[in-house]
């Protein structure tokens, strides 16, 4: 009878919203539409400006959609040799650097999930660096004395481990791979190495993806390291070159030095300045595109992985 009784109960109607809640939801919807606009519009503006006609951009006609579609800016960017050279450097530094970072962090994170003699000391040593550092100048001098100044190596190994990422990875491994699993594996004859390579790595896909994005984007976006440690122009990464193009106060003519290839005659010069107006937007698209794309592709793992890792972090 009892089962019958339950079967007769109508599905529970959701509780009707109070009038306050209706207004709350309306307010919330409006709020988020405004926020989305504020967040996305600048990015959208860059995108449409990069494919518009330079004159329309400088006159401020490009507001909601591309005006007089043209790829003239991208053409100018394509011909800029320094930019592409630095683009190659940035790819090298990012790939090698993040591969190293992820490997080192993951190994350390795994080790820190176990108990061993001296763990407290090592933990302290790692966390302490979050709160106290040598500072820019002592670090610079130390690394210069080690012969790392102006080498590609430093662009790859500097900032190799971020304490925060290490902790996120450790928390993730702790929560997804319980110690029981390790004990079971030990009974089957595993040691730390085999367990790490055959159990931890295959099961940590999510956190590896997250670390790749964190480290990769940090490296791709870093210009300051190169500003401090690199002298040769041929070794500079993209962002440092971009700085010259984008982030210097330019009067109308000097923007420019950047497109000086065209400046053989006055006609070439004015044309170069005209192009530079959109080429800047194109540079932004070309340089930011990969980072954003990587994030959007990894997005699926991202939210989940970051959340597991950051809880109790």
């Amino acid at each position: 009878m009892r089962t019958n009784a339950i079967a007769h109960i109508a599905p529970i109607k959701p509780i009707r919203k109070t009038r306050m809640d209706v207004w709350f939801d309306r307010f919330n919807l409006v709020f988020w539409i405004v926020v989305l606009g504020l967040v996305l519009y600048p990015l959208y503006l860059v995108l449409i400006a990069s494919v518009s006609d330079p004159d329309a951009v400088t006159l401020g006609k490009v507001l909601f959609w591309p005006v007089d579609f043209s790829l003239i800016g991208y053409e100018a960017v394509m011909q800029h040799r320094d930019l592409w050279n630095s683009y190659g450097n940035a790819i090298l530094y990012t790939l090698a650097g993040s591969a190293l970072s992820v490997a080192v962090s993951l190994m350390a994170a795994y080790a820190l999930t176990h108990r061993f003699i001296g763990k407290g000391l090592i933990n302290f040593m790692i966390v302490f660096t979050m709160f106290f550092t040598g500072g820019l100048i002592p670090t610079f001098i130390t690394l210069r004395d080690l012969g790392l100044y102006n080498t590609r190596a430093i662009m790859i190994i500097i900032n190799c481990v971020s304490v925060w990422n290490l902790m996120v990875a450790r928390t993730y491994i702790q929560t997804t791979l319980p110690l029981d699993l390790y004990e079971a594996a030990v009974i089957d004859g595993a040691n730390h190495f085999t367990y790490f390579f055959r159990m931890v790595l295959p099961l940590s896909g999510t956190i590896i993806a997250v670390l790749c994005v964190y480290y990769g984007v940090a490296r791709w976006n870093d210009y300051f390291t190169a500003l401090v440690y690199i002298r040769d122009r041929s070794k500079l990464p993209l962002q440092t070159i971009l700085r010259e193009v984008l982030a210097q106060l330019t009067t109308s003519t000097s923007s420019d030095a950047f497109f000086s290839a065209y400046a053989n005659d006055t006609k070439g010069m004015t044309e170069a300045i005209r192009k530079a107006a959109v080429a800047k937007y194109c540079c932004i698209v070309v340089s930011t595109g990969p980072a954003v794309l990587l994030y959007v592709l990894m997005q699926k793992y991202f939210v989940k992985g970051v959340m597991i890792g950051s809880l109790k972090g």
């Binding site: 989305l36 400088t58 820019l136 670090t139 610079f140 130390t142 959007v296």
Partner: protein, 320 residues
Amino acid sequence: MIKSPVRQPYIPGLFSARYWKRVRIRLANDWQLYVLLVPAIAFFIVFCYMPMYGIQIAFRDYKAVRKITGSEWVGMKNFQTFFSAYYCGRLFANTFLLNLLNLLWGFPIPIVLAILLNQFDRVRLKKFTQTAIYVPHFVSTVVMAGMLYLFFSPTNGIVNHVITSLGGKSIYFMVEASWFRRLFIGSEIWQHSGWNTILYIATLAGINPEIYEAATIDGATKWQKIRYVDLPHLLPIATMMLILNCGSLLGSNTDKALLMQTPGNTSVSDIIGVYVYNMGLGRAQFSYTAAIGLCVNLINFVMILSVNWISRRVGDTSLF
């Protein structure tokens, strides 16, 4: 019934042979863990602890040819020079104000966003929103500064086009000192407040849904749920973030300030980090700038410890 004797765990004395035997066995079992840790430890030693050892140049007169340890001791001279310099106060004030204002504006916004996102009732739009608000975080500092220069340019910038078309006068945003902090903090908020919601959203997602159900049955409105469920749950983590942030109130976002510094706004954009960079690397005043760096580091360190101590006393949340 006979009580079975409680077995005491055997704790061998520090100097007994059995203690060392245990240590040996544990080391033999765990040596692979140490191997896995070696690269990370090596990194921290070379890139964090060796520079800390190099801090001693703050008390020396560093000459490149004589290396760090061969240079002459000068005691507190470098510190005295800095503290008696006329720009010292300005540097501290600029750095502190920039960070404080940034904290005041930037700290609450992610919490508000996280709470409102958590209450957002349109599932698909919510997902899209969550993805979208993280995107600006992936824009580099250089590009961010570049966008500011482009959008706020007095002649071609879209902002000034809008201002003039509404009948206003165009403003030299990047040059005027009064605009530096607003643009700096505004762009910080644009870039990072979405990203900084992650922690809070994770915390909110971890709240037991039964609590919300109980609240609904008790007739709580959404405001009341936010007030009596969300906020108390967010308090510990928010306190932790606040403590962490207080540890960098004199820290410098050098790379961004360097990009946004123009001749017109140096009176406010001259912050400690930029000064250290310019004097240290630009003019090779290594010892002097190392001393400045050390001061700032120490102040930050003391600040984080004291805020941590206070918050442990007052609200029992603390980092350590």
